[in-house]
């Protein structure tokens, strides 16, 4: 395997033109995405790093794709802002990898995911052409929005070199409550209750404990309003759902890292709806799992990837394997799509980008 680390867009263009098959990689934090490539040249993007333009007053930031999420988050934090899509691997991922994999953490619940905060990008496509898509202002509807298309594209259509995001002011304080339920159905009923109510949670995750299910909830806001909001919220959930117990937990980074407790050779992300959770879950009880974003994303850690693959197939769901060596990172129901293949035909007609 050849690895090349272009230091400029021009070098990346040349590398794409000169390679037969090429695979973009940032910090390599999602190992499964970089396995099974049969000797494709690796374009290491970590030299294309750094913040290009950050204007807190505009709520926008433009960074090079190889910039570590950690670095971007620190710069935003200094100005009291954050990226509300909450990149999944805040300590190890690059921002380009976060977009390519469409990987958000639990706080994505409040305002939206990667697709909701990307505004534009600069890319190099499979023909080595460098061009821009989208825009640099928070609102723009000119031309086809290829920047959103890049979200989840796994580098197979164009390699990102620069990304522009919308950012928001962050809130000063958090409080976290855990509600325990005997059965998964009870916990899901609590989610449905919360969904139809006025409470604006910062995050809402669900995880199995030994003999119960725990609903993790987080409120964010001003110090002086949190006690009252917490009180109202917990009272409402207690009176409308059949829970076992309630506890306030120490709000910490670990508590809200959906992957923190998940051990296993493979880690899989699944996008699903809350109502698909029970059927999927009963097929993977041997795996460690957590359901994030109000039951809209499953994180599954397993030693037995084929069991998860089978479960996905049975439920007509697709998964993205992030950890471990695999032949194909995309498992479960196939995602081939005629619209996506038309885009591929235009941006990478020779099938160079893998």
């Amino acid at each position: 395997m050849t690895v090349s680390a272009p230091a400029s867009v021009a070098e990346l263009q040349a590398l794409v033109r000169d390679s037969e098959r090429i695979h973009a990689i940032g910090n390599g934090s999602k190992t499964a995405l970089h396995s099974g490539l049969n000797g494709a040249t690796h374009a290491d993007l970590t030299k294309l790093s750094g913040i290009i333009e950050y204007q807190p007053a505009e709520y926008t930031v433009t960074v090079r794709a190889g910039t570590p999420v950690r670095e971007l988050s620190a710069a935003l934090r200094e100005q009291g802002q954050y990226l509300p899509c909450d990149p999944l691997l805040p300590e190890s991922a690059t921002i380009g990898g976060t977009v390519a994999g469409n990987l958000s953490g639990s706080r994505r619940y409040r305002y939206g995911g990667v697709r909701d905060f990307i505004l534009g990008a600069a890319v190099v496509d499979g023909l080595g052409r460098a061009f821009r898509v989208g825009g640099k202002v928070v609102k723009n509807s000119a031309g086809f929005d290829l920047s959103k298309f890049l979200v989840g594209s796994l580098g197979a259509y164009a390699i990102m070199t620069e990304l522009t995001f919308k950012v928001f002011p962050d809130v000063p304080r958090f409080r976290s409550l855990a509600f325990d339920y005997e059965r998964l159905e009870d916990a899901l009923a609590a989610i449905y209750f919360i969904n139809q109510n006025i409470f604006e949670l910062d995050a809402l995750d669900l995880k199995p404990l030994e003999n119960s299910w725990q609903l993790l909830t987080r409120l964010a806001g001003f110090d002086e309003t949190l006690p009252q909001r917490l009180e109202r919220f917990s009272a409402a959930v207690m009176s409308h759902t059949s829970l076992l117990k309630i506890a306030e937990l120490d709000d910490s980074v670990t508590l809200w890292d959906p992957l923190a407790d998940l051990r296993g050779a493979h880690l899989v992300k699944v996008a699903l709806s809350p109502k698909q959770v029970p059927d999927f879950d009963r097929r993977i009880t041997a795996a460690q799992r957590r359901y994030g974003v109000g039951g809209n994303v499953a994180w599954v850690a397993t030693e037995n990837l084929s069991q998860v693959d089978d479960a996905l197939q049975a439920c007509s769901l697709t998964g993205l394997c992030l950890r471990g060596a695999v032949e194909s990172a995309v498992i479960g129901a196939p995602v081939e799509n005629v619209l996506a293949s038309r885009v591929k035909q235009v941006l990478d007609p020779h099938g160079k980008l893998v």
């Binding site: 469409n102 697709r115 052409r129 928070v138 609102k139 996008a271 994303v297 038309r342 885009v343």
Partner: protein
């Protein structure tokens, strides 16, 4: 229109849903960009998915251009008919097929009216967030095509951010679907929803759309602040942003727009050079605390009068003037052009000064209404179409405003799209290579260029500019422009 093609349409549609006589076609000759008109060769009114698919396949086979149309409220001429082409009217596909309040989603047909989703969701304490000013009449299909926005986009985004799944027929007749009921949308694989939404009808027709619903905020706090200087209102916006508050909406109107709104809906606005509306929304305790902070900022911003909506009725009154401002301008001038451009928020002041200078240069009145929170300007250029060359002069001024938006680092459209109106400005924003790539993409999906031919891309045959004044529905006060 070719006789064989009409005959083929006759095999799909009964006579009352296939319009070919001139008197039947005339109502479709324009959309809300009334400066353009073109008579379609025929209009069909499908009532189900299968008819749409058959129609698109027939058009592809016979290379007949088509435009899909909802209520025809496009301000960029996006649903303007193609001369002698086919117009596919989608209003009859207006069923809400599924409403699942537990998962906060709705599955709708393309002809469903934007506001109808909110009305259906209301009993469950939910609503559909994107709120273009034409929301009482515009359809979701059109919102999808143009990625419609509204006054409340700052926090929760535009149409694209609220679509979770779609079933579409591409321009060459291929059927596909992507996304689903998960809030992650497509989730795994490229975000095809993001690509399709805003493609201005050039990729095909959305047959079924899954949208996300949001919980209705417990409390709104709406403030109206009056300033004796437009720049000061703009500065107030910057102060709000710098404070770390995230309002649901921030809107500015200038003197002429205020005057128009007053004349039209008697909103009871103060006599001012500029009005700023800021709206906070969310959980009551948090909003009350944010509101205290906001009051402090507004008080320091040099407003000479501040009004707070104390109930829903007062809130509605504040918004009524703003939402009706565009059509209200029609009372001041026989004709006007609604422009839609974006500048970085911090350069709003600069943009307004330059627009003012352009007013002088062209000797035309310009009313300014804008979504200040996201730098989205909507200058309204007033002119009298009965005067020789007046429209051309107004168009030239509009063009200079767009050039200004690009120079300041913004965009030529925030939410109305390119359509017919701005296709010649696309090259000002994208390089030749970028436009070539977009064109190649279009050809890969629609090799015969039949879907909404003549829109978005520069050049091509254009119908002559005509003079029409307000949209008839607008004149009747049914719709308004954003």
């Amino acid at each position: 229109m070719n006789r064989a093609f009409i005959a083929a349409l006759e095999s799909i549609y009964p006579a009352d849903r296939l319009l070919t006589r001139e008197v039947e076609l005339l109502p479709y000759e324009s959309d809300a960009l009334t400066a353009f008109s073109a008579v379609p060769g025929a209009v069909v009114l499908p009532v189900n998915e299968a008819e749409i698919i058959d129609t698109v396949r027939l058009c592809h086979e016979q290379a007949v251009p088509f435009v899909a149309r909802g209520s025809g409220t496009s301000l960029s001429g996006g649903s303007l008919p193609i001369p002698d082409g086919l117009t596919i009217g989608l209003n009859r596909l207006n069923r809400i097929k599924k409403l699942d309040p537990e998962q906060r989603i709705a599955v709708v047909e393309p002809g469903v009216i934007n506001l109808a989703i909110t009305e259906a969701a209301q009993p469950y304490g939910l609503y559909y967030a994107p709120d273009p000013s034409s929301q009482s009449i515009c359809t979701i299909g059109g919102n999808i095509a143009f990625n419609s926005g509204g006054a409340h986009c700052l926090k929760y985004g535009m149409t694209s951010n609220h679509v979770l799944g779609m079933k579409v027929v591409l321009a060459d007749g291929a059927l596909t679907q992507f996304g689903g009921e998960s809030i992650e949308g497509v989730g795994i694989g490229p975000d095809l929803i993001g690509l399709f939404v805003g493609s201005e009808g050039l990729f095909g027709i959305a047959l079924e759309i899954t949208v996300r619903l949001m919980p209705q905020p417990e409390l709104y706090r709406t403030v109206l602040a009056a300033y004796d200087d437009l720049g000061r209102a703009g500065d107030a916006v910057s102060m709000v942003v710098a404070s770390g508050l995230l309002p649901g909406a921030m809107e500015i109107m200038d003197r002429l727009a205020i005057k128009a709104a007053e004349a039209s809906v008697q909103a009871g606005y103060p006599d001012a050079e500029a009005l700023l509306i800021v709206e906070l929304e969310g959980e009551a305790p948090q909003v009350e605390a944010e509101f205290d902070q906001l009051r402090g900022i507004i008080d320091e911003s040099g407003a000479f009068e501040v009004r707070v909506a104390n109930d829903e009725e007062e809130r509605t009154r504040i918004w009524k003037g703003r939402k009706g401002a565009f059509s209200a301008v029609g009372r001041l001038s026989p004709d006007y052009i609604v422009q839609d451009g974006v500048v970085p928020r911090s350069r709003l002041g600069e943009a307004l000064v330059e627009i003012s200078a352009l007013k002088e240069k062209y000797q035309l009145e310009v009313a300014n209404v804008f979504h200040a929170g996201d730098g989205n300007l909507h200058p309204l250029i007033l002119y009298d179409g009965r005067e020789d060359g007046a429209l051309e002069k107004a168009e030239a001024l509009a063009g200079e405003i767009l050039a200004l938006c690009i120079r300041l680092g913004g965009s030529i459209t925030g939410e109305h799209g390119i359509g017919m109106e701005k296709r010649d400005y696309l090259p000002a924003m994208f390089s030749e290579e970028e436009i070539d790539i977009m064109q190649a993409l279009r050809l890969a999906i629609d090799p015969k260029e039949i879907a909404n031919r003549g829109k978005m891309f520069p050049g091509g045959e254009a119908p002559a500019l005509a003079q029409h004044g307000m949209h008839p529905l607008e004149r009747a006060g049914v719709i308004s422009r954003e």
